[in-house]
Amino acid sequence: MSTDTHAAQLAGLDALEIQEKRRRHLVSRLWARLWPITLAVGIVLAIWQGVVWAGFWEPWVFAGPTEVFPVLYERLGTAEFWQAVGVTMRRAVTGFAAAVLIGLVVGALVSRVKVLRAAFGSLITGLQTMPSIAWFPLAILLFKLSESAIIFVVILGAAPSIANGLITGVDYTPPLLLRAGHVLGFRRLQLYLHVILPASLPSFLAGLKQGWAFAWRSLMAGEIVVIIANQPSLGEQLHYARELADSAGLLATMIVVLVLGIVIDLLFETGDNALRRRWGLRAG
């Protein structure tokens, strides 16, 4: 068989086996995502309004959507609200960034060094299950009623998940890729940098996402417990709304906390999806 016909046959097989997958248009993709969310929000609002109408609680204890959304809308126009969101987000980002750094270092060391693995592996998993609110008494003793106390707990909430994500990723590096890396001449640190770390990226991302969820929870707990003067925050708003029996204000703040959490989770999901698409781990 001549090389030309051979090449042609191969090219023919290749063409038959590859199908260009076209992605749908942005608008239709957005719509496909949006309508279930809209539906869910609608159902939740209906149930909420239904409970209010059922009259289990007095209207000033449990406000309905019709009272809450005007309050929320009004707040969106005030500087104080945005300052509170700013302070909370600053704490969240600072704490989470520090947690990522610590989680990376700890995860890398523990996944790499056998002795450390034996010593700290289960401790990290244990820390992950510890409720963050349980850290606050100690944090307040150590750092007084300060922002450091809040950040401390946020880090303790998020770092174990992030470290664990990396460790799991390293553990689940496909042995075949390790062998391939070895045959290509990678050893020790090089193998770690070029094969093991990239291979653990999906698991690390999952760890980041979970870490963020823990950080956000710890932060809200912290802001309710540790209230600092001249530092308006979302947690502080929750606290005062309860003190003042401002049901509409309380629920408005809760909606803000929920939406912020969802938006940031969506960012992680977008990153995760992009990665999966590039790696061919999911269709579409």
Partner: protein, 322 residues
Amino acid sequence: MTVQVDRQVAVRLDAVSKRYGDLLALDRVGLSVAPGEFVCLLGASGCGKSTLLSLVAGLDEPTAGQITTTGRRVAMMFQEPALFPWLTVAANVEMAMRELPRRERRARAEEFLEMVHLGGFGRKRPHELSGGMRQRVALARSLAQDADVLLMDEPFGALDAMTRDLLHDELERIWRERELSVLFVTHNVREAVRLGDRVVLLSSRPGKVVEEFPVRLARPRRTDSAEVATLAARITDQLKQEVARHAETSGRTSAARPAEPSPRPSAEQTATPPAETASAETASAQNHTAETVSAQNHTEGTVSARNHPAETASARNGGARS
């Protein structure tokens, strides 16, 4: 043909044994691959074929014996492409040439991809290609290592027959052009005959060289040609007997020593071939019978099973016990 002693050797195994706990995977295997030679390693499952390749590739250490590889580098291909999913096809090939400057690396990666008829696919991700194409990328990556010894562990086992046939042609062409020494592991007898200069038959548990079959058919061969089928049938018979004997020894009680290992017909050399190849067999039987050389008779411990069945059996048992 036994390898001449004075000839330079690309890969050489001297009485290599590998033990995993109680399991003896390889028992004093002696084998050599001459420069530019294509050797196929054949055996049923559990014969330690893959173990043997891992040892040659340096992925694992032998328990005893010595492995020598001469030449620049040893590359290895696996049953699966083992491409890095986070890199593009071109970047995967470039991983093998890290010592080169970036621009040169790029250009050469494209060259290697063209060599496996995948020019222009460099920017794709591995998952966007078909199984056969991925395996060609893996081949390109192996070639990019500038290796002259290529170890292949059932590289086409997971592919459909048509793709496999084309890749056989492809591999043969590249093997010739680049004067590679190939050690090719397979459990597909026809594939072994299609590709190899020599087919080495391994026994199972422990893996041991039983016999070598030189393949003197003209190239390029076809997997479905009568000549290939005939020789493949003969090797298959031998392989089946190896497997059958295994069942018998394992079925025996320890009281009954396997002094007589299995019903080995002395007329085995003229064993009846499968019906569809009967005519071809009679035509070429004499040639091949003359060609069949017992494996490495000079190497201690590896005795041709065909000529000395009883000895082989005792050696096997001794190995398993030691």
